[in-house]
């Protein structure tokens, strides 16, 4: 058994943690920069939300979003622009661009009642329109609003059906 000079165990732990942090930050530099840019405004929103209690939609993951969508329990709502929606969207989703939803009553079909489960999505984790849209929908009186943060990219990567005239 090779015997290595031992340094203080705590320093060794600190060294490993430091190394992991360095590697992790270097490896995910772009992602972290993106998250930070989106994060500053989001942090303020979270602080407000703590006061406004539960005005922020809950996140759902890919599997749950798919399950709710397939079983017809939830309506998927695309927060991106109408153009992007036309190009490609999750099959069966409704288009509700964030800009269009800013008015008094979001233009959703009558079949969507305040108790319908609504899942907002946009272009993945770096896109915050779905979260904003979710908040608007909650304000507008919809009670079961969720955000699928993985959005179209995660859905597409999973091989789930999309629709639109992309070609």
């Amino acid at each position: 058994m090779t015997r290595m000079r031992s340094i203080h165990p705590l320093s060794e732990i600190a060294l490993v943690v430091f190394l992991a942090t360095l590697l992790g930050v270097a490896w995910n530099k772009t992602l972290l920069t993106d998250a930070w840019r989106g994060g500053t405004s989001q942090a303020a929103v979270v602080a407000q939300a703590a006061q406004a209690a539960e005005a922020v939609p809950m996140p759902v993951g890919l599997a749950q979003a798919k399950e709710l969508h397939d079983s017809g329990q939830a309506v998927l709502v695309d927060a991106r622009s109408a153009d992007s929606f036309t190009k490609e969207h999750i099959a069966g989703a409704l288009s509700l661009p964030l800009a269009a939803a800013s008015g008094k009553k979001p233009p959703l079909p009558k079949s969507v009642t305040p108790d319908t489960i609504i899942i907002a999505y946009c272009n993945g984790f770096s896109c915050h329109d779905s979260m904003e849209l979710g908040k608007l929908l909650i304000k507008a009186g919809y009670r079961q609003v969720f955000v699928f943060e993985g959005g179209l990219p995660e859905w597409r990567d999973a091989g789930y059906p999309t629709a639109g005239g992309a070609s």
């Binding site: 992790g24 998250a35 993951g61 749950q64």
Partner: protein
């Protein structure tokens, strides 16, 4: 000695589990950030920091355990990580969050917090065994 073999197997298995857990998270940090965010513990940006750093910590410690280098350091960190995971899982159970544990492969079949908690308890016991043996071995050197 039988006991030494057994602890060595435990050590390599534990290290292997953590390497196996780290790789999919390193490959897809965004999905892992989503899993971390689902716990609703950290503020927005810190979900990404955790998703960036945790997998590398798991990987390094896993490699240390498998190779048998600085075993105590690796095992101590892995033990601490396991405790953190268990607290997070328990808090998810208490708050009634129906989420995937996000422990290994991201997405796919859901592992409920209860199962993940039980699994982590096993890993923690393995870590304790490895640490105990390390202490005995260190004492025998002198």
């Amino acid at each position: 000695m039988k006991r030494i073999d057994f602890v060595m197997v435990l050590r390599i298995a534990l290290g292997g589990v953590f390497i196996y857990a780290a790789i999919p998270k390193i490959v897809d940090p965004v999905a892992f950030a989503g899993s971390v965010a689902a716990y609703r513990i950290l503020p927005y940006f810190w979900n990404y920091v955790a998703a960036a750093v945790l997998p590398f910590l798991e990987l390094i410690c896993g490699v240390l355990l498998v190779l048998g280098i600085r075993v105590r350091t690796g095992a101590l960190i892995i033990g601490a990580l396991n405790l953190v995971f268990m607290v997070a899982l328990a808090s998810a159970i208490v708050r009634g969050l129906d989420i995937d544990c996000g422990c290994f492969r991201q997405g796919g079949e859901k592992t409920t917090p209860w199962i993940a908690l039980a699994r982590d308890a096993v890993f923690l016991a393995m870590t304790a065994a490895v640490l105990r043996y390390e202490r005995i071995r260190a004492a025998q050197r002198f």
